[in-house]
């Protein structure tokens, strides 16, 4: 999947251009109060042009009025284009995801009674209904989203995630979901369809981006009210100016009134507002996150607390052995031998890492008829028996019990070592040979490189990070400090997460979390932003309001930034748009009155050529600033985690002060150009 489509691709442009005209339909336009008033103004100018053609003399030349009409029409088209190109980009992105949903043959299974083999039928994927069962074997493309009810398979999900390494999905666990369009590489699974046609998360997301079911988000509604308010102010200003001008015996042309009005109302932000919203969701989609509503993206920007699982987010996968500490009087070589033997059948990542650290292939030790003792929750140890030797490794208290039962003393230096390892965030594994303690293995969590910088970034955004782990409090505390998280939940049970979220919410904070298991579902539902991993269970995906196709636990950080960017882009462009009015006033107001009141030349601080050129320059600037800002609207204003006050200062300087200065330069430059022609 192409992640970096350029902003303006040719086919997207064509579609957007077409849509720009379609969207001129007043019924569609009505949704955007600011641009709707521009459309009314454009229509009025159209009739003024006709009126002049019919012989009216008082409104100036036909050419001038017609140009004003054209520029206003362009303003509308530019605004429509902004929305259309955002939609087209989103749609293109969605289409590439939807390609994975093309018709695929499905091996549908129908149970015919208890004692018969299931009936198998090959049907097109579009005929699968919710609750249907199908199976896939190596080489099959999974026809629809569903949950594995039986079996285990390696699956290539690169069509969705872009990640080429295959993943394992199996029934019963927290990784039981499969996605339509992915490919089974080995084994066989039976899958139950869990969404109806057209109702999968992806379908919902596509609808959101395409604008069909796009609901305005709360902040967008409030901003629309603000913009409508500003528009109304200028309706009052423009309408009342007519009697004022009559009173002062200064006739003003309709073109001048409408230009004044259109220039003053916040057309820049009004024209780009919906494009910004769509682009925000598109950015989420590009980050491979499917959101169920635009509101969720916006809420992400407000998050105060982030719950992160330790494993996979803060630390790399699993713990690794980092040191061997033989007890006093035990030969290190002998200790390593015992350690390696005890781990040779241990398939856990920890076990493998022990052999890796020792650097010895257990096959080198020629031992006879080894009997492997599996780890159980009761003994909390595992090991190997061969000849007359019994080697065990396990949690220190269980080995202690074992050795003391046999009458051996638990060495004090081992005891101390165990404490030391624990307090350093490691996990000690004590090893015994024939119930006699011979040393300790240190397992350590490996903290991801760069993760503490990310937490620092979050802290500057004002977000509190909370690590969730099954470790004991001592270990958890150490890792929390080392990684730089603000708080941790140790020995976490699912209800602990839930309680933590509720507690923070009761204090007024917004909480985001990521999860995959069915256990996580209540907490995902409770959280303000719940991101379920795509590999997670259906329950988890239903409960959250976003799904991450990449199953990347650090994605939350990205989502928060996307949310903030969305709000910031709206805020800064609003500021820019309103700040522009200052310069426009100095262009248009003198132009309105200068003929009747020549003294007002003093207000023409830009020394614009003539009243007509001043008005044209202002409306032209007003129109072309929209397409110039489309790239910014689509990409979003960059978020810098420098604290709210510094960020405000920065954005005020760039978009506020810039918004005051830029149009002075722009209008003057356009005036120089325009004055060549008139």
């Amino acid at each position: 999947m192409s992640k970096n489509t350029s902003l303006f691709q040719k086919d997207l442009m064509q579609e957007a251009l077409k849509q720009s005209f379609v969207k001129l339909n007043p019924k569609i336009m009505f949704r955007n109060p600011v641009m709707f008033t521009v459309e009314i103004g454009t229509a009025v100018m159209f009739f003024v042009c006709l009126w002049i053609l019919a012989g009216e003399q008082s409104q100036g030349s036909f050419a001038y009025n017609f140009i004003v009409f054209l520029v206003l029409l362009l303003t509308l088209l530019f605004a429509n284009f902004a929305e259309a190109i955002a939609e087209a980009r989103g749609k293109a992105q969605a289409d590439s995801l939807r390609k994975t949903r093309e018709e695929t043959p499905a091996k549908k299974m129908t149970a015919i009674g208890k004692f018969h083999a299931d009936d198998i039928q090959i049907v097109p994927s579009s005929q699968l209904k919710k609750g249907d069962l199908f199976f896939c074997e190596a080489g099959d493309t999974i026809p629809m989203d569903g949950e594995i009810v039986e079996g285990l398979a390696t699956i290539d999900e690169s069509a969705i995630t872009g990640e080429s390494a295959p993943v394992i999905r199996e029934a019963g666990g927290d990784k039981s979901s499969v996605t339509g369009g992915t490919k089974v590489l080995s084994d066989r699974i039976t899958v139950q369809v869990n969404t109806a046609q057209g109702e999968s998360f992806l379908d919902k997301m596509i609808a959101l981006v395409e604008g069909a079911s796009r609901q305005k988000t709360p902040n967008e509604i409030a901003l629309t009210i603000l913009l409508a308010g500003f528009t109304l102010v200028f309706v009052i200003v423009t309408v009342t100016l007519k009697p004022f001008a009559d009173y002062a015996n200064t006739p003003i042309t309709i073109a001048a009134f409408i230009s004044l009005f259109v220039c003053l109302i916040p057309t820049t932000i009004g024209g780009l507002l919906s494009a910004i919203g769509i682009a925000g969701m598109d950015r989420a989609l590009r980050a491979n996150v499917i959101t169920k509503s635009g509101k969720a993206v916006e809420t992400a920007g407000d998050i105060d607390v982030l719950l992160l699982d330790k494993t996979g987010t803060i630390t790399i996968g699993n713990r690794k052995a980092t040191n061997f500490y033989p007890a006093n009087g035990i030969d290190e070589k002998h200790f390593i031998k015992c350690v390696v033997l005890s781990s040779m059948s241990d398939e856990t990542p920890e076990g493998k890492s022990i052999i890796e650290l020792a650097g010895i292939n257990p096959v080198n030790y020629q031992i006879l008829i080894p009997i492997f003792i599996k780890f159980t929750a009761e003994t909390r140890s595992s090991g190997v028996d061969f000849e007359n030797t019994r080697i065990r490794k396990g949690a220190s208290d269980s080995i202690k019990k074992l050795s003391e039962k046999a009458g051996n003393v638990f060495p004090t230096e081992t005891e101390e070592r165990v404490k030391l390892i624990s307090s350093n965030g490691g996990t000690p594994l004590v090893v015994s040979e024939n119930e006699k303690v011979i040393g300790v293995i240190e397992l350590q969590d490996i903290i991801k490189t760069g993760i503490s910088e990310r937490f620092e970034r979050l802290r500057k955004m004002g977000i509190k990070t909370v690590m969730v782990t099954g470790d004991n409090p001592l270990t958890a505390k150490f890792i929390a400090e080392k990684a730089g998280v603000d708080d941790f939940i140790a020995e976490a049970k699912p209800e602990d997460k839930m309680n933590y979220i509720k507690k923070e919410q009761a204090e007024g904070r917004l909480v985001a979390m990521m999860g995959d298991g069915t256990n996580d579902a209540p907490a995902l539902a409770q959280a303000d932003v719940g991101v379920a991993m795509n590999s997670g269970t259906q329950a988890a995906k239903e409960a959250g309001n976003m799904v991450d196709l990449d199953n990347d636990p650090t994605k939350l950080i990205e989502i928060v930034e996307i949310g903030k960017q969305l709000l910031m882009t709206r805020g800064t462009l609003t500021t820019f748009s309103i700040a522009n009015d200052v310069a426009k006033y100095f262009a248009i107001i003198p132009a309105l009155f200068i003929v009747a009141i020549p003294a007002l030349q003093g207000l023409n601080i830009m020394h614009l050529h003539s009243p007509e050129s001043a008005i044209l320059s202002a409306v032209i600037f007003n129109a072309i600033i929209i397409p110039l800002l489309i790239p910014l609207a689509l990409k979003g204003v960059a978020y810098k985690p420098i604290g709210a006050s510094a960020l405000l200062r920065r954005n005020l300087l760039i978009y506020g002060l810039g918004g005051v200065i830029v149009p002075f330069i722009g209008i003057k430059a356009i005036d120089l150009l325009v004055s060549i022609f008139i």
């Binding site: 709360p218 009342t240 004022f244 004002g462 977000i463 903030k564 709000l567 200062r649 005020l652």
Partner: protein, 563 residues
Amino acid sequence: MNTEILGVILMFATVVALAIPLGRYIGKVFNYENTWFDSIFNPLDQLFFKLGGINPTKEMNWKQHLVALLIINVVWFVLAMLVLTNMSWLPLNPDQNPSMSADLAFNTSVSFVTNTNLQHYSGESGISYFGQLILMLWQFISAGTGIAICAVVFVAMKERTADTLGNFYSFFVRSCTRILLPISLVVATLLAFNGMPMTFEGKDTITTLQGDTVQVSRGPIAAFVAIKHLGTNGGGFFGANSAHPLENPSYFTNIVEMVTQMIIPIAMIFALGFVIKRRKLSWMIFGVMTIGFLLLTIPTIISEMEGNPAIANMGIAQNMGSMEGKEVRFGSTASAYWSIATTVISTGSINSMHDSFTPLSGMNQMLAMMVNAFYGGCGVGMLNFYIYIILAVFISGLMVGRTPEFLGKKVEAKEMKIAMIIALLHPFLILVGTTLATSLPNLTAASLSNPGFHGFSQILYEFTSSSANNGSGFEGLGDNTPFWNIACGLVMLLGRYLPIIGPVAIAGILAGKKYIPESNGTLKTDTPTFGLMVFAVIAIIAALAFFPALTLGPIAEYFSMPK
């Protein structure tokens, strides 16, 4: 340095120096903390509550507060109407002044009820002493109303979630008895001992040096003038207001009146900091308001000190600056300072004729009322500023990438709707009112003393003053006609109550919302950066809405003057 400028600086420094401790005291009054006036006022308050059958501890939500406010105002409005239309036969009328016509009584009652104190009558001949006393009572009630409702908003801004915000009657009585009454007593005493009459006797007759006999009006002026300024009312005892020698006899009384009118609006800013325990926020607000005030004051003082270029062109020296319409005992600097102070704050009393100021000074006076929140009226100035804060919070909240929040409460669509309506209202009333007056020349043309740009300024000023509940006038306007009485009356009513209802509604809704603790990503509202943002919002809203109208009035007049 020029002593006139030193005088102005002294006046401003005195106000700030007194306003900070007064703010702390007001904060205590509304936090129900102990003050040394308690032993006097507790029994007095209890007496009022007993007489009125009011339970002062009954908690009210924001709607109940507004209902209580409107009830108090309506009852006294009716009473004022009755007195004004019947005072010719009522007692305390030694000068045999007539009753008012219905439309004039309506305008006058509305004017005093709304703290505007626009006067379409002249005190000497248009009202009896009984009428003056009723108006004096009103100056207490309207100021007390403003302070009390502002206290409600302060309480709503506290760091918690609450539906009830104290008791309005209790806030109202406390405002009148513990704040307005004691300061008025002190000020009235100061004024009475400095040449201001305080009597119920009728006109005095004196013989001038030329040998003519002159009738001189007098009355209970010292008491009237004290609350007139303290409550930012501004309704003059005489037609000439504080330019009248008996209403403002000397430079010293001028200082006292000046300090008195600014003290409560500035003290309210600091009271906010004490009530909600955020003194930095108070300083931010004070900073923004003061910068706005100075930006209007300094050019006005310079412009008036330089004199009128039209007069200069006639070859007349203007050593004292532009003195047309100004009193020699105050001079051009103190008059210019007063003219901005009285328009920035909603007092509207005058010590010089605003009509005679140079065009740009006239524009600054109008801008002061168009913003109506650089200090502003008693209590209501803070309410107006609150709306600007909400708008600034919204835009800057978005700019830092969070749903906007103010003092831990999220500002959402409903609050924006109310804030926008209130922000729209002021331009709407002023511009539409002016439109009416300019399009109905058969009703208004005869009342203008100047045609052209200046005449337009007179109309614009009148509606700006009404909508801002200021009450000062560009005195060239002959405004006692049914058109002006009714139009301005309606504008005053809308311009008073809606801008009270709006902020109280927003504050009430926000108070009921969940409190979000501050984090690093929260926009801090007590910083200079945010202050700049608020200032920009005020400047842009005021400038954008009124620039075209001002261009056709004072700006065109300025550019048309011979240089």
